[in-house]
Symmetry: C2
Subunit: 128 residues, 2 copies
């Protein structure tokens, strides 16, 4: 089983890679055949190329991620974290409240990511 | 699709039911054939009777739940929330950092619950 410490380290590397605008570093955290469902309810993105493209586009918005609480592990091959996406919209600053859940392979790479956020989690005006 | 507002209302009712020690109210938030995986990696509890028993035992520890960030919805039939479990242990006050993910049926009942927390998420001494 992937160690809890390694899973949390990879989750933190995801946040840090995003915030230094390094889409490739994020893609490299994923296994080759990984899936991304962001937001949950949207079509799956499958495989490293599609995933890297998704993060290039996300990072290009200027969004930054900030943890809202400590990263959680599990007794299995999964970890989860609550964070806020801070971004500048034409209407002003905006926040999206998100929880990401990742599953991991034995090497500590993400095999799946699910991002829980809905229309009601997007707040204009920087409100928390 | 279950509305995001209803899903968040049911998640809040879960927190409130737990904190007033009402295991039956929590069990009633679940569909009859629902599953609980708490923590993720542990065997599934299946069905309302097993679920009610689980919450009776959890509540009997004197644990209380406190949201760590606003409840998240999704674009599908799922919602997620980060919270802390506060409890008194023989060694003193303790905290467990948890993220719960629920899926919902059309009536807004939980069809599954997964609780993400691992050994490293249990902190003695009330540390946050």
């Amino acid at each position: 089983m992937t160690s809890e410490a390694l899973m949390k380290q990879q989750m933190q590397a995801y946040i840090d890679g995003f915030n230094r605008s390094d889409a490739q570093a994020i893609a490299d955290l994923y296994a080759d055949d990984a899936t991304v469902e962001d937001p949950v309810g949207a079509p799956l993105r499958v495989g490293k190329a599609a995933i890297a493209e998704f993060y290039r586009a996300s990072i290009a918005t200027g969004a930054k991620l900030k943890l809202a609480a400590p990263i959680r592990g599990s007794h299995g091959n999964c970890a989860a974290m609550a964070f806020d996406v801070e971004l500048n919209m034409p209407e002003g600053r905006a926040l999206i409240h998100v929880i990401d859940v990742m599953s991991f392979d034995e090497a500590g790479r993400f095999t799946s990511m699910k991002a829980y956020w809905g229309p009601g989690d997007m707040l204009l005006g920087g409100q928390r």
